[in-house]
């Protein structure tokens, strides 16, 4: 192998080294709620094993985009594909409600900022995890119990509390139950919507550490939405910066924070304490 230094080679577009295809591809996603244009021609690409961070101010469209990734809503226009084993590519927004539910149960996990959105607060913690497994077709009580236990343990939830109801738990513990539920079926994609917002600093560190370990050990692909630049900087490989429903900048996390190219990103980075 040699470096070809001819002018023609120098002018040639850089070849791609990455052999893997993207896991997630969204193209030209737009969504309007009444007079509000929540998403404007958004493209997103996420590769297997990476953590994609999405930052932006409140109302920038980042959580709306995450909900689209979780097939909770349908855009006015745009395509969404996930490269999954034994599944043909196709626009996931064309799926029926039942098909979406089954696909999400098997392949997509989500942790919401508000645990009330992700958990049945009056069911046991282990029951919340088992519910996810039930939707995906698991029926054996022993298997359900064992898998729920394994997922809670991987999320660093104290197993002595696995039968406690989320309503009896602290915010950090509730997030761990959500996380256990999300990873119980080893999803291809884990969506995290402000998972540490509202937690005190020490609990936030615990949750982030757990996420980092899961990502390293299980190679789970993650999309992390946060307005906390420190969280994104700690976790993300690449970053999308959103404003007014548009992606204004995208790049490697360290590049976006150290050499932001867009005026808004510079304001965001300079405003960080």
């Amino acid at each position: 192998m040699s470096l070809d230094m001819s002018p023609a080679a120098l002018d040639r577009a850089a070849p791609r080294l990455m052999r893997a295809e993207p896991l997630l591809t969204m193209r030209d996603i737009s969504k309007t709620y009444g007079d509000v244009r929540a998403l404007r021609h958004v493209d997103a690409t996420v590769y297997p094993g990476e953590v994609m961070g999405i930052v932006g101010e409140s109302g920038s469209g980042k959580s709306t985009l995450l909900r689209m990734m979780n097939l909770e809503d349908t855009p006015d226009s745009g395509d969404y594909t996930l490269r999954l084993p034994n599944r043909e590519d196709g626009n996931l927004f064309d799926l029926t409600r039942y098909e979406r539910r089954m696909l999400c149960a098997r392949h997509i996990g989500i942790v919401y900022q508000n645990p009330h959105l992700g958990l049945l607060m009056k069911h046991s913690s282990s029951g919340n995890v088992a519910e996810r497994l039930l939707i995906a077709g698991e029926r054996s009580f022993d298997v359900l119990r064992a898998k729920a236990r394994e997922a809670l343990d991987a999320s660093e939830f104290p197993l002595s509390r696995m039968d406690a109801r989320p309503i009896e738990l602290s915010g950090g513990m509730q997030q761990r139950v959500q996380l256990a539920k999300a990873i119980a079926l080893e999803p291809a994609l884990l969506l995290l919507d402000e998972p540490t917002t509202g937690l005190d600093v020490s609990v936030q560190a615990l949750v982030l550490d757990t996420l980092k370990r899961l990502q390293r050990d299980r190679k789970i692909t993650m999309v992390l939405v946060s307005h906390d630049l420190g969280v994104i900087r700690t976790m993300a490989d690449r970053v999308m910066v959103m404003r007014h429903g548009e992606v204004v900048e995208e790049g490697l996390a360290d590049q976006v924070f150290q050499d932001p190219q867009h005026n808004y990103t510079q304001q965001l980075v300079h405003a960080k304490l």
Partner: protein, 243 residues
């Protein structure tokens, strides 16, 4: 030595656009040089000459505004200046290392786990990765009682030892060093020079910025002075090439 360079920096130019000042800051312009396997290139220049900026532009923390950084990777030749982000991320995992003078200590992560992480990401088993992590922490003079402690509470010098152990645990093809000896004690400096010497002998190409270049004097093959933009070969001064 392979006559084909591992890295060819060609006309590299970096300018920062500062919106809040409505101005541009020119860091450097038209920098060119070749780097071969096993070569050690020192970047010289006064404060603000652009030494660290040049390293960060090659690493792609900074986006160049002009020029090329051709690199001979195990996957094929690529222009780092224009490569896709995912390709840069791949090369950072596998082939190119960057050592700063600051440790990015994550909360609640023990020193030995921070050091072992690059090996774990590369697929090494946990016991083997931890063994190697402890070995390198020991080499850089971090006391065993600190191996399971959280570095966020360490002194600057101790943090830098953890940082070096992590950065140098996995052999790379290209190493970028940004003042790695700052805040190190004599023993750790000696350990760093030994490790760099071994890596150089294994063919690792190194570009470094050092506050005290004397620390690594015996390793330097060539140097670039960013004040004058002159490349100087340590053994053949008459072959200086103006950039």
């Amino acid at each position: 030595m392979n006559s084909t360079p591992l890295l060819r920096v060609d006309g590299l130019t970096k300018t920062f656009r500062m919106y809040h000042l409505d101005s541009m800051l020119h860091a450097f312009e038209g920098v060119s040089f070749d780097l071969h396997e096993g070569e050690f290139l020192l970047l010289r220049g006064h404060n603000g000459a652009g030494k660290s900026t040049l390293l960060r532009t090659i690493w792609r923390s900074y986006l160049p505004v002009g020029g090329h950084v051709w690199y001979r990777s195990n996957h094929g030749d690529i222009d780092l200046a224009n490569a896709a982000d995912v390709d840069i991320a791949l090369l950072r995992r596998e082939e190119i290392g960057f050592v700063t003078q600051f440790l990015n200590a994550r909360p609640r992560v023990a020193a030995q786990d921070i050091v072992a992480e690059p090996l774990l990401l590369a697929g090494t088993s946990q016991p083997e990765a931890l063994d190697q992590a402890r070995h390198w922490l020991d080499q850089f003079g971090v006391r065993p009682e600190l191996w399971r402690a959280y570095p966020s509470t360490f002194s600057g010098g101790e943090q830098q030892k953890v940082n070096l152990a992590r950065a140098l645990i996995l052999p790379q093809k290209l190493l970028l060093l940004d003042e790695p000896t700052a805040s190190l004690d004599v023993g750790a400096r000696a350990a760093l020079v030994r490790r760099l010497s071994d890596l150089k002998a294994q063919g690792v190409a190194i570009i470094g910025v050092f506050h005290h270049p004397g620390d690594v004097a015996q390793l330097i093959d060539r140097e670039i002075n960013l004040n004058t933009k002159v490349v100087a070969d340590q053994s053949e001064e008459e072959d200086n090439v103006a950039l």
